[in-house]
């Protein structure tokens, strides 16, 4: 589903290869400055590599249009403010998320599904749909960003340090929710993190980004 062929970006990524099957969930770990965010940008098509290609379902990511790319790849960033609009209500943010990749028509089913999904997280956000996002707590914003990112019919979910600014309890709730949603919908997921707590628990396998290349990490149990 996702294939990285000999990706090179300056001195950060030095001939990186990775293949992720459809429905597989992969955790990418690495220390500070290892190039995790650069890798994220390359896969999302925001950073052009000096050499190598990124293929999603056999199509080169750089050849996809902006609209097509946003439909295929859904991403959640560490800075949740970039993934939502604080001056709009929860409902308005979800409407925008449901319209992702073009078209003005809001899919009502998707919007309703989003509301149901908000309830699954147990934060009572669906009943507060008219509330402004800027008034939500950090955890609530992260939950909303997950629901927004998974609202459209995406192929690949990219997560960059999504638990970095969250408390331990909220992090675990967020991680288990991501796991549950991606398993339920059989979506391919690539999570980039420096947090080694989830090395054995999240997804199907773990790879480590070190010295500009990726290597498999053996899991305990």
């Amino acid at each position: 589903m996702l294939r990285l062929d000999n990706i090179r970006v300056g001195d950060v990524l030095k001939g990186l290869n990775l293949t992720v099957s459809s429905g597989e969930r992969v955790l990418v770990i690495g220390g500070n400055g290892a190039g995790k965010t650069t890798l994220f940008g390359v896969i999302a098509g925001k950073i052009a590599p000096n050499a190598g290609e990124v293929y999603i379902e056999g199509r080169n990511v750089t050849e996809l249009s902006e609209g097509c790319r946003t439909r295929v790849i859904s991403s959640i960033l560490q800075d949740v403010r970039a993934g939502m609009i604080g001056e709009m209500t929860i409902l308005e943010n979800l409407r925008l998320a449901c319209m992702r990749g073009g078209g003005n028509r809001v899919c009502r089913l998707t919007l309703e599904a989003c509301m149901e999904r908000l309830n699954v997280f147990g934060m009572n956000l669906a009943n507060r749909r008219r509330e402004y996002v800027k008034n939500l707590s950090g955890g609530e914003k992260q939950v909303l960003s997950i629901v927004m990112a998974t609202s459209a019919d995406y192929k690949l979910l990219l997560l960059d340090e999504v638990t970095a600014a969250l408390s331990r309890a909220t992090s675990e709730a967020v991680m288990s929710s991501i796991e549950r949603i991606t398993t339920m919908e059989n979506k391919t997921c690539l999570m980039i993190t420096h947090d080694i707590r989830y090395i054995n628990s999240f997804g199907d396998r773990t790879v480590e980004l070190k010295n500009g290349t990726l290597s498999e990490v053996a899991r305990d149990g």
Binding site: G83, M88, M99, N104
Partner: protein, 286 residues
């Protein structure tokens, strides 16, 4: 002390309604799409000149408003094109277009600095009611648009461009749409004003931006809605209130303010309301 009479009050409401449409246009660029658009001084007169010329040519006054709006939208599109495709800063793009429009407006009016339509039929010929209906149609259309999916995208571009890009919204296209709609509204205001006063003066657009901003400041203070589509409507109320304040100030013998002090009074109104806002924010921060 001379009090404001009923006639002056009605005049304030009429002029306030016309300039409320202009204020809505200015609000759309400055707040909704977050674009510092200086085209308005030119597009207001572009609307007025187009209306004067078309009415003079025997075209129906209502149709002439449509012509003015199309001309205004075109001016907005040029500003947007200069900014988005020629990489000229937003503020400079607007200044250049407003500067160029001075010559264009003169050409529209047959190279004359003014054009009288006082003896022609206008939307004000019978009563002020058609004008109220036109303003109501514009306000309702803008409100409908702002609550629609299109309006949501427009607001998203103004609030968070990174978000808009991530969610596949074409920021350049939406900015161009926003500028076209905004300048069409400003031109509609110009069209109505030229019909109201019965002539068009090529230099009549000077200070339009400040007048519009004053209306926005007063409106958002008087009706501090949280919802942006409603905030746009508060520009109309703000414009009417601003005109009443201005008339009260100019008719007050005690204050000794004369017509030539108009800009001074406008500036003072804006500064005092903005200072009130700052004071309130400071109190909230404790």
């Amino acid at each position: 002390m001379t009090m404001l009479g009923i006639q002056e009050l009605l005049t304030s409401v009429e002029v306030g309604l016309i300039f409320g449409v202009v204020a809505m246009g200015i609000y759309m660029t400055f707040k909704t799409i977050n674009f510092v658009d200086m085209t308005c001084d030119g597009s207001f007169i572009l609307g007025a000149a187009t209306t004067a010329a078309t009415i003079k040519a025997g075209i129906d006054p209502y149709i002439s408003i449509c012509f003015s709006m199309v001309a205004g939208a075109f001016a907005g599109l040029i500003t947007g094109t200069l900014n988005k495709f020629c990489r000229i800063a937003d503020i400079l793009s607007g200044i250049i277009v407003a500067y160029v429009l001075y010559s264009v407006n003169l050409m529209i009016m047959g190279n004359s600095p003014s054009m009288a339509i006082i003896d022609c039929e206008t939307v004000f010929s019978d009563s002020g009611l058609p004008m109220i209906a036109i303003v109501a149609v514009i306000v309702l259309s803008v409100m409908y648009m702002m609550f629609s999916s299109f309006g949501l995208k427009l607001r998203a571009v103004g609030y968070n461009r990174q978000f808009a890009t991530t969610y596949g919204i074409d920021v350049n296209k939406m900015t161009l749409f926003g500028l076209a709609i905004s300048n069409a509204m400003i031109a509609a205001g110009g069209s109505l004003f030229s019909q109201y006063q019965g002539f068009c003066d090529v230099s009549g657009g000077t200070g339009m931006l400040v007048t519009g901003l004053a209306s926005i400041v007063v409106g958002t203070k008087a009706l501090p809605f949280k919802n942006e589509p409603l905030l746009i409507v508060s520009c109309i109320v703000g414009s009417i209130l601003y005109r009443i304040f201005l008339n009260v100030a100019l008719h007050s013998d005690v204050l000794g303010i004369k017509t030539q002090n108009l800009n001074l009074v406008t500036g003072l109104i804006i500064v005092s309301i903005m200072m009130m806002k700052r004071k309130e924010q400071g109190r909230c921060l404790g």
